[in-house]
Each structure stands twice: as C-alpha cells, then as structure tokens.
C-alpha cells in the first residue's frame, strides 16, 4: 500500500475526470502568484526607489504632490556625485582590498583543508575546533582589540589593515575540507605510485576537482568583503585608501539628508558592480549561496 503513494489519483480515474484534473493541475499552485507577485514587487521597491530618486530633482523628492516618476529624468545627479566624491579611487581600493583578501584566503584554506582532510597528525581535532570557533568570532565581536593591535603595528590607515584580519578563514577551511574528503582516495593513491608528493597531488589532483567549491567560496568572500562597512570604517581616515561603502557613508554624512537625488545616484554607483555581476552570473551566485547550508 505504501508503495502505491507515488501513483497520482487521476491516472486511475476515468478519462474525462483525468482531463479535467489535468487542466486543474496546470492552474493549481499558480494561485500562489497572487501572493508572490505583490510580495516580490514589495521586495524590489527599495531598489526601484534608489534608481527613480537618483533621476529626480531635490524639489521633486520633498514635494508630496509630485508623481512617483520624475517629470524629466535628471541625469545630472551622476556627474554631480562623481565631482564631490572620488568614486573611481574608491572603486580601485575596493578591488585591491577584496581581491587581496580572496587571494590570501585561497592560499591559507587550501593548505589547511588538505592537512585536515588527508593527513594524520597529533592535535588534529583540537586544531580543527580552533579553526571552526573563528566562525563565532567575526570582526564585529573583536574589532576593539584588533584595532589596538593594528595601531601598535603602525598599520592603521593603510590598505593592509583592511586585509590582514580576514586572511585566515575557518569557514572556508571547513567548506574545502568537506570537498577534499569526497575526492576518491584511489586517485591520490595512483598519483603517489607515480611518484607525486603531497603538494603535487594537492595541485594536480585535488584542486582541479574541487573547483565548484572554490568558486562558491570565492563568490561568498567577495560579496562579504566588497560590502564590508564596519572594519574599513574604523581603520581608515584618509580619502585615498577608502573603499566604496565608506565613501558612500561619507557622502551621506556630508549631505545630511538634504540632497537625496545626489546621494541615491552615489548609491546606484556603489550598488551596481555586484548587482550587474549577479544578473550576469545569476546561476553561479545562487548556487554558491544555496549550498552554504548543505553538508
């Protein structure tokens, strides 16, 4: 009886009923659109507001009688925001910081994950726990003493200050270790018989096979550190090393809510790079974040 449950009822029913229920099935579930469509629109509203407001004049923003759309699209907010804040410089800094963090992480997590996945050594479990605990202590929890340490090292207000706290990643090590463990050991045994040492096996056998995990981790790391606000805010105080989010925050402070169109033009500039990449590589982004939770 239990095995029968995969058979849908209309197969057993009369042909006419089957046709009717087939038609009903096509529509069935689609009523959800009535809820989901408005909900999705609601979710998109903040983004729509950013874009629309960036094309308005200040007067239109504060006038409740003005329509939702600007009377004439006012593109001058973009050059005007670019003239008050060096977003080009911020963009370059953001790229340097994010890519340095990623490069450093890829090296540290690959080496550590291989040791945890394939080598035997005393203290393995204790060390692995120490790596995992880092996930519990993000920079938000320990920023104060890290700031003091970097100050003593003379690194405050330098590009490396924004990078070094993130070079080791317990989370990335964990993710990659799981993938390494799924590589069949026959492959590495064969490579060893051919005379490869551990590092050669890691490079030629393991890394090519775990590319999807590396890409997934890379995307998550880039999104996290590209958008990071608190830490770069605390350790920078000069224009030429600030990143995009910090630049945007400063623009907001300077405007103090008076010039929304210009501020929203700046927001559009800051939000665009990742959103454009997201639209182009949607599948990859979605897959990366989707599988962070599945072991």
């Amino acid at each position: 009886m239990v095995l029968d449950t995969s058979v849908t009822p209309d197969i057993a029913a009369a042909p006419a009923a089957a046709r009717r229920s087939g038609w009903r099935r096509a529509l069935k579930g689609q009523w959800l659109h009535l809820i989901m469509l408005p909900l999705a629109f609601l979710w998109l509203c903040p983004l729509i507001w950013i874009a629309v407001t960036s094309l308005k004049t200040s007067a239109e923003v504060f006038d409740p009688a003005a329509g939702f759309f600007p009377a004439i699209p006012n593109f001058s907010n973009y050059p005007s925001t670019l003239s008050v804040a060096p977003f080009g410089k911020y963009l370059v800094n953001s790229i340097i910081v994010t890519s340095s963090i990623l490069a450093g992480q890829l090296v540290t997590i690959t080496l550590a994950a291989y040791a945890f996945a394939r080598l035997n050594f005393p203290g393995k479990n204790v060390l692995f726990t120490l790596f995992l605990l880092q996930v519990m202590f993000p920079i938000y929890a320990i920023f104060l003493t890290n700031f003091v340490t970097l100050r003593e090292m003379g690194l405050v207000n330098t590009i490396p200050a924004m990078i070094v706290p993130f070079v080791a990643s317990g989370y990335g090590t964990f993710m990659l270790r799981q993938s390494f463990r799924q590589v069949p050991s026959e492959l590495s045994d064969a490579a060893r018989l051919d005379g490869c040492n551990h590092l050669e096996i890691l490079w030629h056998v393991y890394l090519p096979l775990v590319q999807p995990t590396l890409i997934a981790f890379g995307i998550i790391s880039v999104v996290t550190h590209w958008n990071d606000y608190m830490w770069p805010l605390l350790v920078t105080n000069s224009e030429d090393i600030r990143t995009l989010p910090i630049g945007l925050g400063l623009l907001a402070k300077a405007d103090s809510g008076a010039d929304w169109p210009r501020l929203m033009a700046g927001t559009t500039i800051v939000v665009s790079p990742l959103l454009v990449l997201f639209v182009i590589f949607q599948r990859r982004f979605i897959d990366s974040f989707m599988h962070t939770g599945v072991k």
């Binding site: 849908t8 009822p9 579930g29 689609q30 959800l32 659109h33 989901m36 999705a40 998109l44 507001w49 407001t53 997590i109 080496l111 550590a112 040791a115 080598l119 035997n120 050594f121 393995k124 120490l130 880092q134 519990m136 993000p138 938000y140 929890a141 320990i142 920023f143 104060l144 003493t145 700031f147 003091v148 340490t149 070094v164 706290p165 080791a168 317990g170 551990h198 999104v223 590209w226 958008n227 606000y229 608190m230 605390l234 910090i246 945007l248 925050g249 809510g257 501020l263 927001t267 800051v270 939000v271 990742l274 997201f278 979605i286 974040f289 989707m290 962070t292 939770g293 599945v294 072991k295």
Partner: protein, 300 residues
C-alpha cells in the same frame, strides 16, 4: 621497516603543521590573541593610545553591572536578535516552500527575494532612512494611502528598533530562503503525495513533514542568523547613531562608543567580553534546546 614507518609518519606530521602554519599565524594574531587581550584589558584601566595601564581587578565589571545604559543596550541587542532572526527565518521558510512548489517564474522570484544580500549594508541603511522619512518617505505615504496613521519611525524611540528589524527581514530572508530551498529539494516528494492523499492540509504538512525533514538545515540557519545579527552595527551607525534616546543602541555600537569616542579601552573590553558571552550563551541555548530535537535522516 618500522623505523621507515615512523619516519614517514613524522614527515607527514611536519608537513601537516607546515600547511596549517599560514592559517594559524593569522588566526592567532587576529582572532585568539584579541580575545585573550580583551580579557586582560578588561581588568585594567586602559586609554586608547596611552601606554600606561593600571590594574583595576573586577572594577570594570562592577561598573558594567551598575551601568543602567548597559542593561538597556543589552535588552536592545536581545530584542533585535530575538525578533529579527525568527521573523526572517519564518519569512524565508514560507518563501522557500512557496517557490519549491514548481511555481512558474521561480528563478525570477528567487532573485527578487535574494538581491538585497548583494546590497552593501550602508547603501541598504541609507535607502531605508529615506523610505522611513516621516515627512516625505514612501512608507508613510503608503500608510496614509491605506488610511493608517503615519509614524515617526527612526525618530520615535518606540519604533526605531522595530524599523531596523523590518529592514533586516528584507535584507536577510532571501539568503536564508536559498539555503532552505536547497534542503527542501532533498525532501522525498512521495512523503507529501502520501500525506495529500490522506487529506492532510498544507499547513499540517508544513508543520509535521517539511519542518522535521529539514530541521538540520533550519538549525544551521538559526546559528548563521544569530551570527549575522552582529551586523546591526552598520545599520545603527548609518541610520540612527544609537538614538533616539539610546533606543537603538546595541552592544556592538556601545563598545564602539566607549572604545573609540571615549577612548576607554578597559571598559569597552569588558563590554566586548559581555557581548561574546551573550552570543555564546545564545548559541549554547539554541543547541541545547533545538539541537537535541533536530532530526537527521538515516541516523536513528
């Protein structure tokens, strides 16, 4: 022969430590040393940039216990975590279940709910300051349109923190939704078919089949959500600076105020340790209560 074995074992051990070394150097310097050091600082009178420190013993902690603002800030932090995490996970679960039912245009919906994760927290905070603006903000315009009273949102000490909670639901539900969607795909569909044949309602199926089947992932999402709630610092910094009347002041922001604005590293360190205890306690509580009830497939 056995000497050879010992030698290869030793070589493997040395290699392992060498491979771990780069990570360990950074972990030690920027994760573990700061924690040890903040315990040390919290027992002293330390000023930012001042090399002289004085032993205080437990004085910073006594001060903390008598600091009324600390208790208020702790309450705000607990309120934020205990509302924003369950609410965004509940929203995420409903969205995931809806999208799992082979809805047409599923990919478009998925992206529509997920894109806020890509938006930097500053940008998100700023747009919502605009959306919440009492005089001309679209949210108040919408409330008026619906015949509801307008609110002062971020300027009202009763509504400012709930306003940030609402924004967090928008910002994070999509991420949790994706993780839950991946888990839902692994639930065998014949379970649902069987329950449907027995006339069990969609709600009961959600409670008695879906949730138990994805409970390990749900548990994971709760932990991730709790850790994400640290990020409220960004929103408080951008949107309210802790105000009005400290109604949105949370532990991370209070640590920042004491450490950076008042330069009192000793007291700020005591607060930082209180934050660590708070988060570890919360996660311990979650794993003791929910972790035990988590249902792992094939593990009974």
């Amino acid at each position: 022969m056995s000497q050879n074995l010992v030698r290869t074992q030793r070589k493997e051990m040395l290699l392992a430590y060498a491979l771990l070394l780069p990570s360990l150097v950074f972990l030690a310097a920027f994760t573990y040393w700061p924690i040890v050091r903040s315990i040390w600082f919290s027992l002293h009178d330390v000023l930012l940039g001042d090399p002289d420190i004085y032993w205080l013993g437990a004085e910073n902690y006594l001060r903390l216990l008598n600091d009324r603002l600390f208790w208020k800030v702790l309450g705000n932090t607990a309120f934020y975590t205990l509302t924003s995490v369950p609410l965004s996970i509940a929203a995420a679960l409903l969205l995931a279940v809806a999208l799992d039912s082979k809805l047409r245009g599923m990919a478009i919906y998925r992206s529509a709910f997920f894109y806020p994760v890509m938006i930097p927290s500053v940008a998100a905070g700023m747009v919502w300051v605009f959306l919440y603006a009492p005089g001309y903000g679209p949210i108040n315009e919408a409330l008026t349109g619906l015949g509801l009273p307008r609110l002062d949102w971020l300027y009202d000490s009763k509504w400012a923190l709930p306003a940030i909670v609402i924004m967090s639901i928008w910002k994070y539900s999509g991420y949790f939704m994706l993780i839950l969607l991946a888990a839902l795909k692994l639930v065998p569909s014949d379970l649902h078919e069987a329950a449907k044949l027995d006339g069990i309602s969609a709600w009961d199926r959600l409670i008695h089949i879906t949730i138990p089947m994805i409970s390990p992932t749900l548990y994971f999402v709760i932990i991730i959500g709790t850790l994400h709630s640290y990020q409220i610092f960004d929103y408080v910094y951008v949107m309210t600076q802790g105000g009005p009347a400290d109604s949105t002041n949370v532990l991370t922001f209070y640590i920042y105020q004491n450490g950076f604005q008042y330069q009192d590293i000793g007291y700020a360190s005591a607060l930082a340790n209180a934050l660590l205890i708070f988060v570890l306690g919360l996660i311990g509580l979650v794993s003791l209560t929910l972790g035990r009830r988590v249902h792992y497939l094939g593990e009974r």
